[in-house]
């Protein structure tokens, strides 16, 4: 029996998973998926910022388009740290396509206007 706290949403359900992958304690179906994933290949969303070379902001906030394998967090952060952008860029523009071949994009999460 494994116990964990679901991190899918802020509710934070207390989950229990037995040997047959039966999940209890979840409020919604996403808890089941989370529990099974977390045991086999944990994933996390990553958010950060990238440097703006020209635009109305000093930093542009970005996020992974989907969760990435937990063990790749720092590798992906290193890729994000290399990026520089110029405005204008609409919100949710792809900043890095298919980062490190993970089939996940890094997308912007804010509108970047021209200076």
């Amino acid at each position: 029996m494994d116990k964990m706290i679901c991190i899918v949403c802020p509710r934070g359900c207390h989950l229990e998973i037995d040997e047959n992958n039966n999940v209890t304690g979840n409020f919604c179906p996403r808890g089941v998926k989370y529990a099974i994933n977390e045991l086999s290949h944990p994933e996390r969303m990553i958010t950060s910022t990238v440097k703006v070379l020209s635009g109305d902001l000093k930093r542009l906030s970005v996020a992974t388009s989907k969760p990435i394998p937990k063990e790749k967090i720092f590798d992906v952060m290193n890729e994000i740290k290399k990026v520089e952008v110029r405005g204008p860029l609409p919100i949710n523009s792809v900043i890095i396509e298919n980062v490190l071949g993970l089939n996940v994009d890094i997308i912007s999460t804010r509108v970047l206007k021209e200076k």
């Binding site: 991190i7 949403c9 969303m45 950060s48 440097k51 930093r59 906030s61 952060m77 919100i91 949710n92």
Partner: protein, 415 residues
């Protein structure tokens, strides 16, 4: 002097939702005043995800949520001013604001919604003794340096308080290359969301010291060391449990306090527990015509709830402006055993179809019951698997249960 039906102070998620809702309920003469250069409020520096599951049914980052909310406002041609600080409200609702372009201007309103957010408790507010070097700052201040300005504030970090901003900043600092040596929480339980303990601390092996606090700060120009120690159940230092930790940064996540200097000056009654105004079911404060919502009313766990509250405040403010708000049958709502505060503290059921009472419990509960009483009579009981003070709880009571009201009480008792 320009006259408006409604002036909204604060262009964060509460103010935006209030403006949109008042507009949708027939008020078109609205002015929203925001001090920063963008709509969205503090969400713009909250670049992490986890926002919007209730409102938009998907998980957004703070800036994305702010973008969606403000686009609703922009669609409606609601007047708003950016980079403008409100510095005064008079008893007859003359609002003075200032910005670089217009200078100091006065505008007048029939009703005002205050959605001015909250501020972080400072080191001084909790009186941490010791030297006063640079390097001790609130978690939100550090968040602004990192996420908006693009500067790191330190390399060896400790965090006091397990509030969500502190936990989020622990992870953020680690991702940017800092070493986060631990988080101390004076209570025997965490004050942050469970998911943040997991994905911000556990994921990065950051220890959480429960029942611990910072006893001393050391360093002349720059922070050099902190001394943490254990506290007993009366939250007093336990001698002999001191540990010295070398750090250059101490982030404080020790509580948020609703920020209402403008209407406090006007004499709005303040709730001793929430530190925000006392409101009734219509989110009207003790001064008729002044409404309050969002984190300046009481500190919320989720922005979704702020938006929802803003929506209601906007709805009721519109009713007030249209002279449709009843206030002649108010009864009190009190916090009973196990409950630290309830909101609202008064209700006039003529204005509503169902009553939602928000509250926080005084301590963590395992299986327990939420009990709502009218006078001595129990009118509703809800069983809960657990309740924690860090999560705001609510009960919704249908109008048919709210007849012949004396006063209402909300209690939490062990199951």
């Amino acid at each position: 002097m320009t006259n408006y039906d409604l002036i909204i102070i604060g262009g964060g998620s509460g103010g935006i939702a209030a403006a949109v809702s008042a507009y949708d309920n027939g008020i078109s003469s609205i002015l929203l005043i925001e001090k920063e250069a963008y709509l969205g409020g503090i969400l713009l520096q909250c670049i992490h995800n986890g926002f919007g599951l209730h409102t938009y049914k998907e998980e957004l980052t703070g800036p994305e949520y702010a973008n969606r909310a403000s686009s609703e406002l922009l669609k409606r041609k609601i007047n708003y001013k950016l980079n403008s600080m409100v510095i005064d409200i008079t008893p007859d609702f003359v609002v003075t604001y200032t910005n670089k372009e217009e200078g100091y201007q006065q505008v007048k309103a029939k009703a005002i919604i205050c959605a001015t957010g909250c501020s972080e408790r400072s080191r001084g507010a909790i009186a941490i003794p010791g030297d006063r070097p640079q390097g001790v700052m609130s978690a939100g201040q550090a968040q602004k340096y990192l996420n908006i300005e693009g500067y790191m504030v330190g390399k060896k970090v400790f965090i006091l308080g397990s509030g969500d901003i502190g936990l989020i900043m622990a992870r953020r600092m680690v991702l940017e290359g800092a070493e986060v040596l631990g988080v101390a929480e004076i209570m025997p339980y965490s004050n942050g969301l469970n998911r943040n303990i997991v994905q911000c601390l556990n994921d990065y092996n950051i220890p959480l010291y429960l029942s611990h606090t910072v006893k001393e700060i050391k360093g002349q120009g720059k922070l050099e060391k902190i001394v943490i120690c254990k506290v007993d159940d009366k939250l007093q230092y336990i001698d002999g449990t001191e540990q010295e930790i070398s750090v250059d940064t101490l982030l404080l996540s020790v509580g948020l306090i609703p920020s209402n200097p403008l209407i406090e000056n006007l004499g709005v009654e303040i709730h001793p527990r929430t530190k925000g105004p006392i409101v009734d079911e219509s989110y009207q404060t003790s001064i008729p015509g002044i409404f309050s919502c969002g984190n300046s009313l009481h500190v919320h766990d989720l922005v979704d709830f702020v938006s929802l509250e803003g929506k209601k405040a906007g709805f009721f403010a519109a009713k007030y402006i249209k002279n449709e708000l009843c206030t002649n049958q108010k009864v009190d709502i009190k916090n009973g055993v196990g409950v630290s505060y309830v909101l609202p503290t008064q209700v006039d059921i003529q204005n509503i179809d169902e009553l939602q009472i928000n509250f926080r419990c005084v301590k963590p509960f395992k299986t327990c019951y939420i009990i709502v009483k009218n006078g001595d009579k129990v009118i509703k009981t809800i069983k809960k698997p657990y309740l924690v003070p860090s999560e705001m709880e609510k009960v919704v009571i249908k109008k048919d249960l709210l007849q012949n009201l004396d006063y209402l009480t909300v209690e939490v008792v062990d199951g």
